[in-house]
Symmetry: C2
Subunit: 359 residues, 2 copies
């Protein structure tokens, strides 16, 4: 990962200004709304007339949001960027500019920062985003990545969380739960490696699950497909904390209840099988696992036929009157109350244990 075997460069060898030059020297601007990128007190942006701008921010903390023992730094940089792009997708917009702040302890080398930056740049290139500024500094302990992304959306297409009405259909893109299963596999292999460093990791057949955890992709293909079908969702959010938590946000903001069919929640076969192996009910990984970065949205019933023509969208239920609350119709036709747990970093809970308790 870090120039195997060759000498690594200490951050102090470049100094702050030298490091910023080094990290940002090859950034090229792609969007006409970006007037000035890196290199002044602020980046300068001039959005197209008729467009509104979206601003989102996420902070990723070592030991809380990621574990660098199994998260390659390039993937980390990539993921840090795309989870913010995903927030822009969730507003039905397109990401345009990004600023990043990184704090690293002295144990990190220039080459390690290069890896993080190369992941961020790759994400920006792939999604057409201009990397317009940053702040690189030291930390006493640990790695912190703070990213702010600015996006654009046509005024009439902006999709908030609060526009859903009772009877709107609840849709979700892709499949859910695999990112969490990927995390469980990585955690398991980490423990096994610590117990016996000579052991080979048991990762066969888990490519998709690991990729979902290590390299999530925001669903701009869905944003575009909806636009092509002239569907503006009534509400939308991306799934970072788990389906239950995101449903709660939509219901709370829109003042609705919801009814979701457990059987209709899309779960990848490999994730389903692995969940069973871990002794977890598969739908629980979708409801409470998080980090899928799929889009959860609601549409008017009138858009039902049009949405069915779009690949990779599942209709999992519908919105109800608020007094009905949030309900899950289980596999065996029981109706149970949905509780949003979310990925609650502040509670430092053992997500393993809690998921097991949920069964």
């Amino acid at each position: 990962m870090d120039n195997d075997g060759s000498k690594l460069t200490k951050l102090s060898e470049l100094g702050e200004f030298g490091l910023i030059d080094h990290l940002t020297k090859d950034l090229k601007l792609k969007n006409k709304s970006t007037v000035k990128g890196v290199g002044d007190d602020a980046a300068v942006i001039e959005p197209d007339p008729g467009k509104q701008m979206l601003v989102t921010k996420d902070l990723l903390v070592e030991g809380v949001h990621f574990d660098i023992t199994y998260m390659p730094l390039k993937h980390l940089g990539y993921k840090a960027a795309v989870v913010n792009f995903s927030d822009i997708a969730a507003m039905n917009g397109t990401p345009k500019q990004m600023v990043a702040g990184i704090a690293v302890s002295s144990k990190y080398s220039v080459e390690a920062l290069d890896e993080i930056y190369s992941g961020m740049k790759k994400a920006c290139d792939l999604y057409g985003v201009d990397f317009v500024g940053g702040d690189t500094t030291s930390s006493v302990v640990g790695l912190f990545i703070s990213i702010t992304v600015i996006g654009e959306v046509e005024k009439e297409k902006i999709t908030y969380r609060n526009g859903a009405s009772p009877n709107d259909l609840i849709c979700v893109s892709g499949d859910l739960g695999a990112a969490y299963i990927g995390l469980l596999i990585l955690e398991r292999e980490k423990k096994a490696f610590r117990a016996n460093p000579d052991m080979q990791p048991e990762l066969s057949g888990t490519d998709y699950l690991l990729e979902r955890q290590l390299k999530p992709e925001p669903r701009f293909d869905i944003v575009r497909a909806l636009d092509e079908k002239k569907i503006v969702p009534t509400s939308m959010i991306d799934i970072s904390d788990g389906l239950a938590s995101e449903l709660m946000h939509l219901c709370k903001s829109s003042d609705t209840g919801c009814r979701v069919d457990e059987d209709k929640i899309p779960i990848d076969q490999a994730a389903f099988d692995k969940a069973k192996e871990f002794g977890i009910v598969p739908s629980v990984t979708a409801l409470n696992g998080g980090e899928d970065y799929e889009l959860l949205f609601t549409i008017r019933q009138a858009d039902f036929e049009k949405v069915r023509e779009i690949e990779d969208i599942s209709i999992i239920g519908y919105m109800t009157e608020p007094n009905e609350g949030m309900n899950l119709v289980t596999h065996d036709n029981q109706m149970i109350k949905l509780e949003a747990q979310g990925w609650d970093a502040l509670k430092k809970r053992n997500i393993d244990r809690e998921l097991s308790n949920d069964k």
Copy 2:
């Protein structure tokens, strides 16, 4: 500071969603360009036509940029916000929106976060900025604050670092070096307190110096005064790293050299006296101390009379041809090369020692 004597609330008692609601419940929007603030996947902004937007970001790290043993948390929140506003001032703009990310370890209480937020809110209220989003999460160790500020500026008034020409006059607002002297006083009292906790701090007559360190103010009064006189600076930057470092940025970006008179560098009398007491050449605190958040800018010679009418601006020298380099004409009429050191957090240098070595 934290509800003296009464019970403090653990972060885990509120949980992530509860904490965000608690911290953001009283945010009111002030700017017409702010369409939607906290509460969705992204904030929504619609700038006025003809305006360009400015985006700046700073990351503040406990133990690197601040020491909570003497930095009250409310001041910390305030300072974290205004240092970003200052970057917008340095582009000749006005700050409009702010997003903040905070990572705290479990040793912090809800009341501690309230203090940080109250400082950020106070800064936003005072400078007319909408607090439109945030991300609050946990850290394993330490407090991290990441702030992004969005501002606006009329297209023809935007001031970059790169517009200065030889013979342009170099101007600076306010006085320099006091913030660094304030830091030295706080560091000294911290050491004295550690050696003898019963000792009373020796802070008499240092109010101004401490305030410069703990509660800097961005110079929008200067931005407005320049606008009233119809002066658009040819280049501008704010002084966060020290005069020498900022001069280097302007000269490098504008492809000029500079000549600055040591005697014309504005230094407050209390800072001057205290510098002598610490055994530091006063002008060195201005050149290499940093954190003054004054504006350093250049104007055409034709604007000389107009700028002289503005209070609190000093003309300290002029730009030269690039091959002349950066020069300081000292008190005793020697010409010495200026070296930019800056507040180089990555080098973790002992600024005390280095400043002393500079004499």
